[in-house]
């Protein structure tokens, strides 16, 4: 699937996308989310956002390391989703990761939830313009 990335990158970050149901999809990450593995996620998110999606949940609870490049990917995806009329929701349960979003003020730009269930809770409702 990600033939353009080296084997080591694909092993360091696993990205699993659930099939879209009623316009909602969940993308789960497992592993290290840094500048080298960021392109893997970027591709996956771009693919997801381009389809007929209203809500995309990105689950970061399985991430063992995250850096600024990955934050940038999430930020771009948030903006891109908004342009397509969809909403990106990020799931964060690690206080260190949460702090990173707060320090960079990205928690004011992106929607953060403590669990996938809570993130999905609003699923099904049409997204109102922000």
């Amino acid at each position: 699937m990600h033939s353009s990335h080296s084997a080591s990158e694909a092993h360091r970050l696993l990205v699993d996308r659930d099939p879209t149901e009623d316009g909602v999809s969940v993308v789960r990450l497992q592993g290290e989310a840094d500048l080298h593995t960021a392109p893997i996620l970027r591709e996956s998110l771009n693919e997801a956002i381009d389809s007929t999606l209203t809500t995309l949940v990105v689950d970061l609870t399985g991430v063992t390391f995250i850096d600024s490049m990955m934050l940038g990917v999430l930020l771009s995806a948030t903006k891109r989703a908004r342009l397509q009329g969809a909403e990106l929701r990020i799931v964060v349960d690690d206080p260190h990761v949460r702090r990173i979003f707060e320090l960079t003020l990205l928690d004011r730009v992106m929607k953060l939830y403590p669990s996938v269930e809570l993130a999905l809770a609003g699923a099904g409702d049409p997204v109102s313009g922000d």
Binding site: D34, F65, S68, M69, P95, H96, L106
Partner: protein, 695 residues
């Protein structure tokens, strides 16, 4: 036929000789012009003018490499003014002929317009040909020169001239830049002297605070700031402060703006200058802080930081004097013995403690001082000094000596040179005065100390096991006594966990008792004391002057060298993805070995990662490049990281991620210093950490 050929050959030969003579004349003219050029701009102008003339060209520019690794236009001729204004600054890694020449160290020639279009398609000027040469002084590229012609030219016959021109230009530019830096530091010295003068006029705590704040804000063009102090007599843990002075603040008087409160609180807690937070930065000032709103969102320039550090250290002494004045006038409710902080900033690898106690018997102002100077590379300069005499004159001279010593300390690494310069200054300008002092420079990394003891009691070393000794070398006469006598510097390698104690003679001198007796009592009380510098100074003060009367001021400074909790981490890795990941793994296990608390460790790993990733991303030749990480953890509770690479740091290359990365580094570290240079970039980061089980 042959005659014709001979004549043609002769003509060519004569033409060549004429050209050679003209070139020699041109070179001579350059030499003369450069000899008269004093500033970098003069040098640049001379080079472009004579370069154009010598080569029969139509335009030329000279650029200098700046401190932050970019290029700055020094002079140019033959191009329209608007173009010159647009090209004032340029990045060093651009694909322009001049940047290429500077980076490669080789001359770049484009002989025709076609060649220009092929090799440098974005070269905007209507040029027929050009030559670009680097300016190299003492093995470093300090700039470049580009000479352009409206016609095509091979430049092959002119290479000799171009090389000579570039060599002379490099030497002249180097000289002019050096001279300019010296003048700038003299200018800074003058700025400092005016602060001293202003502070000596300020009488009350409020006046001193206001004067400090005014000089701080005008000195760096800051739009707003405030000074807060803890209430006199309040315990050092008290959280209430009073706003003593404010500039440019909206809202009711006496209120601390919310946006600045975070920085102020952090500063009061750590006793260290804070990183930039929402455009605010705070410096510790006596029992409180001086907080400034920076004019830009960027960090504080190194020069401005040095200026503010010096200003607050001056301010502290003045506040102490003002505090005593207010006490005598009954203005303060309770007498605060010293307004100077009881907890000094912790420098990586060192723990400091200091006291300045004014004399109690008929003394109005004193000539004693102490100073702590944060030099480059984490080295620290320690001063304790004593101006002979009393009264306002001694205090004024003390202020000037203190400023000048600071200035020289940044200029010269060798303490012997610093004190020699200071001595010349005293001889030359300050009349009929002399002073005793001790100046020690310590490098916490190898615990190497160099020191000068000018007519002053010797520094005491207390080993980790309590054994004491005095530093005997480096002794000279006081400064200002005899300019012909040289100063000597002593050297010592100190043990981990040992403490160096500097003090003024007020501590060890007692009427009717020999000095040696005082030194003996000092050594005995230090040996009996606890390890911690704060306790050490208190113990020593109690033992030697606890009997009430104090005829003289006393200044005491104790610096303890931290013990490494674990060995330093030192790794060199390739500037590749694998190298970065390996670094992260090694750093994580090192932090675990050092028992560093989890969230502090995670933050440290991310900050170092961001710094190293940036470097790796911009490595010139990744497969041949490497980066270095040095990490240190000590029992003073501090972590220090140095990331070094051979690339150029690009904090603002336009990508939002890099801005985020730098923001994260600044949030997770207390001190961040980025130093780009010819050899590469170094990022130094420091913070305190709670290490379970270690006090």
């Amino acid at each position: 036929m042959r005659r014709f050929a001979d004549q043609a050959g002769l003509a060519i030969e004569q033409a060549a000789r004429r050209e050679a003579q003209e070139q020699t004349r041109a070179l001579q003219a350059v030499t003369e012009a450069l000899a008269a050029a004093a500033t970098p701009k003069d040098v640049g102008t001379a080079i472009v003018r004579h370069g154009i003339r010598a080569l029969g060209a139509s335009a030329a520019t000279v650029y200098a490499v700046t401190v932050d690794g970019g290029l700055e236009l020094v002079a140019g001729e033959g191009y329209p003014d608007e173009a010159m204004r647009a090209w004032e600054r340029a990045p060093l890694d651009a694909t322009t002929p001049l940047a290429d020449a500077i980076r490669s160290g080789e001359i770049v020639i484009c002989k025709s317009a076609e060649e220009i279009a092929e090799r440098y398609p974005s070269f905007e000027h209507a040029a027929g040909s050009f030559v670009a040469a680097p300016l190299v002084a003492a093995g470093r590229s300090i700039g470049g020169i580009l000479i352009g012609s409206s016609e095509p030219r091979p430049y092959s016959a002119d290479l000799g001239l171009i090389v000579s021109l570039a060599r002379q230009a490099a030497q002249a530019l180097d000289r002019a830049q050096l001279f300019e830096r010296e003048r700038a530091s003299a200018g800074r010295l003058r700025k400092l002297q005016s602060v001293t003068a202003a502070l000596s006029q300020a009488v009350s705590l409020a006046e001193v605070s206001r004067t400090c704040l005014e000089h701080a804000t005008t000195g760096i063009d800051a739009p707003a700031g405030l000074v807060v102090l803890k209430h006199p007599g309040a315990a050092s843990e008290a959280s209430t402060v009073t706003v003593m002075a404010a500039i440019g603040l909206e809202g009711p008087d006496g209120e601390i703006p919310e946006v600045a409160a975070g920085s102020i609180a952090a500063c009061l807690k750590s006793g260290r200058p804070t990183p930039v937070d929402d455009g605010w930065i705070a410096f510790p000032l006596a029992s409180g802080a001086l907080a400034i709103r920076l004019p830009w969102q960027d960090d504080l320039a190194a020069e401005d930081r040095a200026w503010l550090l010096t200003l607050v250290s001056q301010g502290e002494q003045a506040l102490d004097r003002a505090g005593r004045y207010e006490t005598e006038r009954g203005i303060a409710e309770t007498m605060q013995r010293s307004v100077l902080p009881e907890r000094l900033p912790v420098v990586s690898g060192l723990t400091l403690a200091a006291r300045y106690l004014p004399g109690t018997v008929g003394v109005d102002v004193g000539g004693d001082w102490y100073d702590i100077i944060h030099l480059s590379d984490g080295r620290i300069g320690l001063v304790v000094g004593d101006v002979v005499g009393k009264g306002v004159q001694a205090a004024a001279m003390m202020g000037q000596l203190r400023n000048a010593l600071r200035a020289f300390a940044f200029e010269y690494d060798d303490p012997q040179k610093v004190i020699s310069r200071l001595d010349k200054l005293v001889e030359g300008t300050l009349d009929a005065a002399f002073a005793t002092l001790v100046y020690v420079v310590i490098d916490p990394r190898d615990r190497h100390a160099r020191y000068v003891v000018a007519g002053h009691p010797p520094p005491l070393i207390r080993g980790p096991d309590g054994t004491t000794s005095f530093l005997e070398a480096g002794r000279s006469l006081p400064i200002g006594v005899d300019a012909s006598l040289a100063f000597e510097a002593g050297e010592a390698w100190l043990e981990e966990g040992s403490t160096i104690l500097l003090y003024t003679d007020g501590l060890v001198e007692r009427r009717g008792s020999p000095l040696d007796e005082g030194l003996r009592r000092l050594a005995v009380s230090a040996a009996a004391s606890a390890d911690d510098p704060e306790e050490l100074v208190d113990t020593v003060l109690r033992a030697l002057s606890g009997d009430g009367e104090r005829p003289d001021d006393i200044a005491v400074l104790a610096v303890r060298l931290a013990v490494s909790v674990i060995d330093d981490l030192r790794i060199v890795l390739p500037a590749t993805q694998d190298g970065l990941i390996e670094m992260r793994t090694l750093l994580r296990s090192w932090l675990t070995e050092g028992n560093v608390e989890e969230s502090a460790a995670a933050e440290a790993v991310l900050a170092v990662w961001e710094a190293a990733a940036n470097a790796v991303e911009h490595a010139q030749r990744p497969s041949q490049s490497s980066f270095t990480l040095r990490a240190r953890l000590d029992d003073a509770g501090r972590m220090r990281f140095e990331v070094r690479d051979s690339g150029q740091w690009k904090p603002g290359d336009g990508s939002a991620e890099r801005g985020l990365g730098l923001g994260l580094i600044r949030s997770f570290m207390e001190v961040v210093e980025v130093s780009p240079s010819e050899a590469g970039t170094e990022v130094v980061m420091e913070r305190g950490v709670s290490v379970p089980g270690v006090v």
